[in-house]
Each structure stands twice: as structure tokens, then as C-alpha cells.
Symmetry: C2
Subunit: 602 residues, 2 copies
């Protein structure tokens, strides 16, 4: 849609149409809701002032990209949002040329803009990269690294700081407070107080009329001094829902031909009154009733996140050495209950996974027992800190890895595919995974007193209820859930949520098969596996993880070392990024549904 020639009045109508369409589709499909509603006018402003066929449009983490999708020939298709083979919930170049880059992890945008600006300069073009970034994304270290270079090189980049005074949960940290002061004009106020002090104490008597003049003049000193000192111009704050103001400001910013931050104040959820304001629950939503705002998804069994939250709460009540951290995902990880009940021991440090891990390493060194709750995909950001600050120091930090395995509608940027693979080779690390609710509670009990680095992975959603007693984690020892003496050569070995898939697969098999829960991936339960090897000849591996370097690989290393004669087949993920959509459809495409796997065993 080319909106270059539309009048302000027409654009206002368009804004309403966009909101209506977003509310219509997201209420059916679920998705990122309040941040995208808050960014409608800013996105229209981008498209009015910049050229989406020429200038790179970069949406940080792209929670707010739906208006952009609607403005770039995806109005009809938008009904397939987040569905299998439908539109992605994030920007995606394979979907549209209007999407410059994939973005599902936060705070990559300014680095991308720096790269784009360098490329632009070398190519002799006049592109101006334009970034839309929320205040929440401003907390991650990458932003600072990128501003550091951008402010030095002074390349033309326009950064729209979409400030709704709330990241996903709530504003956290010193930068957030600084931004709030800017929005409220309080920077100037604090500054004015200092000047007042000077005027009162150091100026000659009888010059009060001059003092007033000075105060007024001080308004010319920019409030965005942090950004100015970092080499970027600062304009703002502006009203992020006032189209005239947005368009005028962006035009000015674009013309400056240097790095500019346009600070816009917006309201999250704007246009859908129930969601307006600071409601974490409206950030990402499942299908809901438009009239009442009630979720249409019936809550079924308890989620793994909820089990984690309740059990850790119970443990933390008893043991004051337990502390914990989340990186901007308090309710997503279930840490909210802990933060609310023990605010002196549990922290949300904002989007800052690196800092989250290393600060907890220090607490572990000082005798505390930290639990770090981060989604599998976001834990990638703290890889070096796990290697260098936790494992090298052999400290008892427990990583609670939520959303391990396929996460569904969020897709390729969010799948928990890799955590086993990037943690398994780290010295001093222990890896365990629960197969069901009771096992998870036992795993957390085990973690409480464990004296070295430990990672527990668990899936999005609920565990399946299994007809077996729950796993015990006292020692690395496999649990044989079922011993099939008739087919003694085959064993189905599961790890974590893979165990329930093994159980399901066995049900499709004509006859009985031995079913084993590995429980520990590292250290591998070698002695009990050797016993299993003496009774079986063929092992099928079930785990929600990347095959290369994954669980099957650990088993192969063991078999090779022990010179056992066992055939191993891994049913882990293929070597690809898993797309978005309903989890079952994705598993079907990967060929890992139990009814598909059984044919590979027969």
C-alpha cells in the first residue's frame, strides 16, 4: 500500500482500519497485541516519510510489526497470522521484501542499522535505515554496543524509541527511569533545581528577574544528554499517536543525515480500551472474546511454568538461601510469584541475560542458591557467561530452561531447539529433564541441594500425565518404565518430554517395547545403560532437541567408548530451523508424531 499521497485525515482513518484488523485477527489467532496496537501511528509515519522499497525498515524484536505487515500487501493474508504455513508473527524476509530482517530476539536493531548504514555508504546510496525499538529493548547490552559505534561513525540512522514506559512487564532499571524522567519532563526539572541552587547561592542579590530568564533559557539544553553524549541527536518526547507531529519529526530526523533518536510516547494497547496501559497479560495473547476480553482458550492442566513457579515458591519459603532471576519474563517464566512474595531475593533484571547469569554466579560464590529462569532460546544470549562465569567456577547455579523444544506459533526465532546442544559439552555442567509434573517437582528438590551447575529443561505448556511413578534424581541412573521381555532387543529411550512421546509411540506398536527414561543426560547414567545394553540391541532416542550433538550423540559417544554393540536411531530434530504454527502440525512435518515414528521402528 503506497500511503505517500494520503492526507492526514485519510491516514487517521487508515490507522483505525489497521487497529480493527489487528483486533479482529489477533482475537482469533492470538499474538503480540498491545505493543503492536501502540505502534500504529508510528508505523504509518515511517511509511509516509521513508520508502519501504528503498530504506531498510528495522523492527526491534518485531513484536510491533503487524501494522507494517498490513501496510505491505499482507492485509488479506494477515488472517493466517502465526498459523502453520501462514504469516509469521515476526518480520521475515522470506515472507516479504518489505521485511529487512528476521527479529524475534530483542535489541538487534541498532546493530543491524549500523551494518545497513555502512553498506549504504559503501554502495554510494542514500538509504536511511529507520529503526523502531521499544523502551524495553533498550536494556540489553547489544544496544549500547551498537550506539557506541553509531555515535562514533555518525552515519545517518533514525531510531524511533517507542516508549510505552513498559517493556513486556514493567519498566526496570536505571535507563528506564531515565527515559521516564524524559517523558515526564523531569530531566529538565532536576536540572532546573540544580540551576536554581546555583542562582540562589552564587548570583548577586537583586537579580531575580535574571534568574527567571536563565531558567527559561535552560530549556534549550537537551534532555537527551545521555544520547547526545553517545553521539546521537535526541528529539523528543513527542506524542506517538499524533500523526502530524510524528510525520513532521521523522521528516526532520531523516533530513539531518546523522544518528537521531526520536523519543515517542505511546500507549500500549491503544485503541482497545481493555488492553490500554500497563497490563503484562495483553503483551502476548491467546484467542480472546473481543467484547469481554476473556480468553477463549480453556486452561486445561497445569503448565510446566506453573509447576516451576509453585514448587520454587514452596522451596524458597523454607530456604532463605534460594534466590533467583528472570530477564524480563516474570509471568512467562513464573518468576512473578517469587518476585512478588520475596522481592528482596528474586529479581527481574530486564532484557539482560548476560548480566542475569553472571550476577547470579557471584551470589552462588557467596553462598546463595540461585535459580535462573530463562527460555531456552533466550539463554543463548548468556552462553559465554555460562561457560566463563558459572561452569569454569563450578558454581551451584540452577538454570531453569522453560520453552525447551518446539514452542509453536512464535516459530523459528523462539524454538527451544539448541539448549542441550550448547550446554552438553561444558565441563562441570549437569543436565537433567523431568518427564512429568511430579518428576519436575523432584528435579527442583534435587536442584536445591545440588552443589554445581545444573540445567533443567522443560517444555512449553503442560506435561502429559503418565501412568508411572515420577522420576527420582538422586543419582544418575536410568529408569526403566516398562521392560518388554518379548521384544528384548528394542528399547525406546526418552529424555524429558521425549519420554511421553516414547510412551505414545509404543502404544502404536504391535506388541510391547521396553521404555526407558534417561533422566540424566550429563553425567550419562553409564552403569545402568550398560545393563540395558546387555539386554537390548537397538535403541531409539526421543528428545525435543537438535540431533547433531544432542541426546543421540551422547548415547553414541558412550557406546563407542564402551565398545558396545548397539544400533542407535535418534528421533530428534533435523538440521533446520523449525517454522511456526501449531506444534502438532510442526511435529508432523518433522515426522516425529508417535504414529509416524512407529513405522520407522517396525
Amino acid at each position: 500500500m503506497n500511503i505517500k499521497n494520503k492526507t492526514i485525515q485519510e491516514l487517521k482513518i487508515l490507522a483505525q482500519d489497521i487497529r480493527d484488523r489487528i483486533i479482529e485477527v489477533v482475537s482469533k489467532n492470538g499474538g503480540h497485541f498491545s505493543s503492536t496496537l501502540g505502534a500504529v501511528e508510528l508505523t504509518i509515519g515511517m511509511h509516509k516519510v521513508f520508502d519501504v522499497t528503498y530504506d531498510p525498515f528495522i523492527f526491534d524484536v518485531s513484536h510491533q510489526c503487524y501494522p507494517h505487515k498490513l501496510l505491505t500487501d499482507r492485509w488479506e493474508e494477515f488472517k493466517t497470522l502465526r498459523q502453520f504455513k501462514g504469516l509469521s508473527g515476526f518480520t521475515k524476509p522470506k515472507e516479504s521484501k518489505a521485511d529487512y530482517f528476521v527479529a524475534g530476539h530483542s535489541s538487534t536493531s541498532i546493530s543491524l542499522a549500523v551494518g545497513a548504514a555502512k553498506a549504504n555508504k559503501l554502495s554510494g546510496e542514500n538509504k536511511v535505515p529507520v529503526v523502531m525499538i521499544g523502551d524495553g529493548s533498550m536494556t540489553a547490552g547489544m544496544i549500547y554496543e551498537a550506539l557506541n559505534e553509531l555515535g562514533d561513525l555518525k552515519l545517518p540512522v533514525v531510531i524511533i524509541l517507542n516508549d510505552n514506559e513498559m517493556s513486556i512487564a514493567k519498566p526496570i532499571g536505571a535507563m528506564s527511569k531515565h527515559l521516564s524522567r524524559l517523558l515526564a519532563g523531569k530531566f529538565y526539572q532536576g536540572f532546573k533545581e540544580k540551576v536554581d541552587h546555583i542562582v540562589k547561592n552564587y548570583m548577586p542579590k537583586g537579580t531575580e528577574y535574571i534568574a527567571k530568564k536563565i531558567e527559561e533559557s535552560m530549556k534549550l539544553i537537551t534532555p537527551g544528554i545521555i544520547f547526545e553524549e553517545m553521539g546521537c541527536d535526541y528529539i523528543g518526547p513527542i506524542d506517538g499517536h499524533n500523526l502530524e507531529e510524528i510525520i513532521d519529526t521523522l521528516q526532520l530526523a531523516k533530513n539531518l543525515q546523522k544518528p537521531v533518536i526520536v523519543h515517542a510516547k505511546t500507549i500500549k494497547g491503544k485503541g482497545y480500551p481493555l488492553a490500554e496501559g500497563h497490563h503484562e497479560k495483553w503483551h502476548g495473547v491467546s484467542p480472546f472474546d473481543i467484547a469481554t476480553g476473556e480468553s477463549l482458550k480453556k486452561s486445561t492442566s497445569k503448565s510446566a511454568t506453573q509447576i516451576f513457579s509453585d514448587k520454587l515458591y514452596e522451596l524458597a519459603k523454607e530456604d532463605k538461601k534460594i534466590v533467583g532471576v528472570t530477564a524480563a519474563m516474570p509471568s512467562g517464566t513464573g518468576m512473578d510469584k517469587l518476585i512478588n512474595n520475596f522481592p528482596e531475593r528474586f529479581w527481574d533484571v530486564a532484557i539482560a541475560e548476560q548480566h542475569a547469569v553472571t550476577s547470579m554466579a557471584a551470589m552462588a560464590k557467596d553462598g546463595f542458591k540461585p535459580f535462573v529462569a530463562i527460555y531456552s532460546t533466550f539463554l543463548q544470549r548468556a552462553f559465554d557467561q555460562i561457560v566463563h562465569d558459572v561452569c569454569l567456577m563450578n558454581l551451584p547455579v540452577t538454570f531453569c530452561i522453560d520453552r525447551a523444544g518446539i514452542v509453536g506459533a512464535d516459530g523459528e526465532t523462539h524454538q527451544g531447539q539448541f539448549d542441550i546442544n550448547f550446554l552438553r559439552f561444558l565441563p562441570n555442567m549437569t543436565l537433567i529433564a523431568p518427564r512429568d509434573e511430579g518428576s519436575f517437582e523432584n528435579a527442583l528438590e534435587f536442584a536445591k541441594d545440588y552443589n554445581s551447575p545444573l540445567a533443567i529443561r522443560y517444555p512449553r505448556g503442560s506435561f502429559k500425565t503418565l501412568q508411572y511413578p515420577s522420576a527420582q534424581f538422586d543419582t544418575p541412573k536410568i529408569e526403566i518404565l516398562k521392560m518388554a521381555f518379548d521384544n528384548s532387543d528394542i528399547a525406546l529411550i526418552g529424555y524429558g518430554a521425549g519420554v511421553s512421546r516414547a510412551i505414545e509411540t509404543e502404544k502404536f506398536y504391535d506388541g510391547e517395547l521396553t521404555i526407558v527414561d534417561l533422566i540424566f543426560l550429563k553425567p550419562l547414567p553409564k552403569e545402568s545403560l550398560k545393563l540395558l545394553a546387555s539386554k537390548t540391541k537397538k535403541w531409539y532416542i526421543f528428545s525435543d532437541s537438535q540431533a547433531q550433538g544432542g541426546v543421540g550423540s551422547a548415547i553414541l559417544e558412550f557406546i563407542s567408548e564402551e565398545k558396545l554393540n548397539i544400533e542407535v536411531v535418534s528421533f530428534e530434530y533435523d538440521d533446520l530451523y523449525i517454522q511456526h504454527g501449531d506444534t502438532k502440525l510442526l511435529e508432523e512435518e518433522l515426522g516425529i508424531l508417535p504414529e509416524q515414528l512407529v513405522s520407522k521402528i517396525v
Copy 2:
């Protein structure tokens, strides 16, 4: 050594003794030199004002920790610095209780201090964590993440910003410029210009005398406004070689009981005139002659770094699409030659691996061919960016991974143990490794036109000269260097520098063995490996990488998929952090010297 009761005069003498000892030992053993010499007085100040048996002493990246080691009962032992089984070149709690944490990667210190401060508060103690951090370490994102929380929580932490106006190479980026302005008092000057403008244009005529008064008063406005806005008090700049000033300031800072940044100006190399000032070569040194400063290490064959530098220079001369980046290691990675010759296409972005990778991903998207040169151990910092911004987008970024394998004297924080393991499972990634100089040049030629993510790993130091033609990387196909028909059941399979170890090992064998270079680890050269499998039965794997999930593991996965009957033994690294010392001694301890390995084959 307790210095609490020493007079300033005695401390000055002590400072000289420390310098003498450092010069004496580092000139023999090599080590981090100029930054540690510059930090002598600051370290003495820390020990005078804080209690090393109580307050956490945190040295960022700990390049500057030698004075601290000398002050904490390691004076004699210091002669074993960086030697096998001797003192580490970095802080190390296993070595001394005075060392709070391991630190060899930059910019973890403020996160550690936040954790320590939280622990202190919960324990009801009065510890004040004290951090020493160089200006170079201030560029990494972790610092910003940590300051964000620290400035919000307002816990007592004293941060000594040891500003020698140079990280390892030279000051880079907007933050660095800001700090330089502070050191030079230019912040106030810029500020004054703004005020002058206001006074001149907005004040009533005839009030010039007041203008002067205002200017003077403005000096009361702090120059450290970035830090103040981030919630930390700022004191400085102070003279980082003036013991009285240091001690008075640290005492004041400690008493404030909140986050304080003490900005100290120091001279790198202070006390050894040849090293004073901005000389990158004096940052880390090999043994040298004290009188002349000449290195005692005879340069032998060309280092892998040098081969990289020369070859990439040659390629970049021809192809203007080639661009590249280093993260604060211009001469360490050999990128200096490129930056000096093509400053518009090659950048040092300071310690900012995350930004380095993602900004280059954008350049690749825009048609350029980026080469990212980062040491194996530091590439860990950019893991998520490789996953989410390069591989997911399938962009032709080439990672040139220097210092892969054992690095020697720098030890456990710097070993290039893990790069294969954390890259191998990433979709779209290609992994190759050259075995010698010519192979490396061919690998870079191959990279130039390769159209997806590629990682090339190569060792610290020089390749061994091999008696075979160099490897070709046109297609994933193993190269059989030697076919031993007499012992057709055994093949020694090497990858990268592992190939020369395989060749050496074969020389110790009584008879001939087949020797193979894998060349490609991903995609694995399956067809040619199948042929090899038809002729051999037992494969020994040689690679400088962690065994779990490593090269042997890749081979095992292949054998398992293809249901081949091959016995595999991997001679990769055990599951531990490799300590520091002479590389050969470390290899001997690991049992991977050729003469040791041959006995495992016999």
C-alpha cells in the same frame, strides 16, 4: 601483605618494588604488561582502603591483577607466572582466597559486583565490592546491563574506572570519546559553550558580569552526567598515580554506601619508559630484554594470524565487496593490516562481539562479504547473534576463528576448546579447517565466494609444515594424504591442526597407517567417508576440540545413520577446562602428544 598501617612514603616505595618485580618476571615469562604497570597505585589504594579478606575485590578481565597478586602473599611464587602448574595470569580463586572470581573475558565485573552486593545485603554484612575496570572494558554490553540494575538498586559498590585512554589497541567508540572529554575537562567546555550561547542570545543586555558568574557556577554541574543519569555517583577525574589522591577518594567513595564511579587517569606501562603510552604491542608481551625492550622470542615461521592477514589483504584488494570486523583485537587477529589499508571497509568495533556479528549480518544481507575475525573463546559472546542473525537468515558471513585449540599460557579462560561444539549443530552453518599454510589460503579463497555462513578455525601460532599438497575446499570431500595398504583397517582422521598431529602420530607407529584430512566438518563429506569405510575398520579422530559433541561425535552420528561397522576413537579434549602453561606440557597432561597417542593405537 597487610599495608593498612603503611605511610604514603612507604607505599610509594612499595609501588616501586611491585613495578620492579613485575618487570623482572614478565620480561622472563611474558604476560600482560602495560595495563598491570599502570594499575599499581590504584591497586595499592584498593588494598589500603578496602579489606581484601572481607570486601570482594573484582578485577575486570584481570589483565591488571599482578600488583594484587604481589600484595596477597604471592611475591615469591610470582616467578612461576603463566607457567605450567604455576601462577595464573588472571585472578583465580583456586590459587588464592584473595581472588574473588576468575576473569579472562572482559566486562563481567560490574555484574559480579551486583551479585556480591545483593549477597552482602541479604547476609546482613557490610562488605563493599570494589571493582577495577579499564576504559576498554566499558564498551561491552554487559557493563551497561549491569549498570542498569546497579543504578536502580543503589547498592554500595565502588567502581574504579582505570582510564588509560586506550583499551588494548586504541580508544574506540562514542563512550570512549565521552570518557576522553571527561579526562580532558572538555565536557565542561562543551557545556560552557552551550551556556555561553544562551547567555549571549537570551539574557538582557548589560549583564555580562552575571554571565561570568553563571559560567563559574556551572562547574558545579557534574561532568559524569551519563553515570549520574544511570544512577551512579561520579567522582573524577583523579590522578591514578597519586597515592594520596587515590586513597582519599576511595575512602570517600567507600563511605558513600551507594554506587560510585571513581574515574582515574592512568598511564599504561607507567614506570617502564619504553612501554609508556599508547603501544598495543606492550599490552601482552612475550619474554623481552629489559634494557632494550627487544623481544627474546625469535620469530620463526609465519603465524596463522599472519597468513590470514596477508591473504585477506590480497583478496580485499581485488574485491571491494569484502568487508570485515574485529572486536578490540586488531593486531591479535591480524585485522590491523586491513583496517589500516581499507579503513572504510574494515572496523574495530571495540569489545562488542555481539554487535560485531549482527552488524556484519546486515552488511551481508546488503550484498557485502563480511569476514568476522574473533578468537574462539571470545566468539562465545556472540553465540546468539550467530544463531539468530546469521544462520537463521542464512547469510554469507565468514567467521575466522583464531586461537582455536589450546592457547597455552593464557589458560582456562582463553582456550579455544568449544567453537566446534557450539557451531556444529547450527542449521545453514558450514565448518572447515585448514591443516597448513597453503590450505588456509585456499580456505580463504573458498570463503570469498561462498554464499552462506562459514566458519574457519585455525590455531594460535604457526601451522606445521607438511609434506603434502595443500587442501582444496571446492567440495566437501575428504583428502587421503596417505593410504597404507598394509594396515588397511586403521585410518587416522584429522581435522584442522589435528591433521599434523595425526601425521606425527603415524611416524611413531611401527608400520604405515592411512592418514585422512576431513577438511569439512559440516557438511560432513559423507560419500568419500563411505568409501573410506569400505576400506578401513577403525578410525582415530584428531582434532583440537572438546570431545563431547565434537568431531568424533559428528563421525559417530554419520556411522550410526549409515549403519557402518566402524570403531571410532576420539583423541579430542576430555571434559574439563584446560589450565595454563606451555602447550606441549598441557598436551602431555591431556595425553594427546603423538608419542602418547600411538600407544593407544598399538
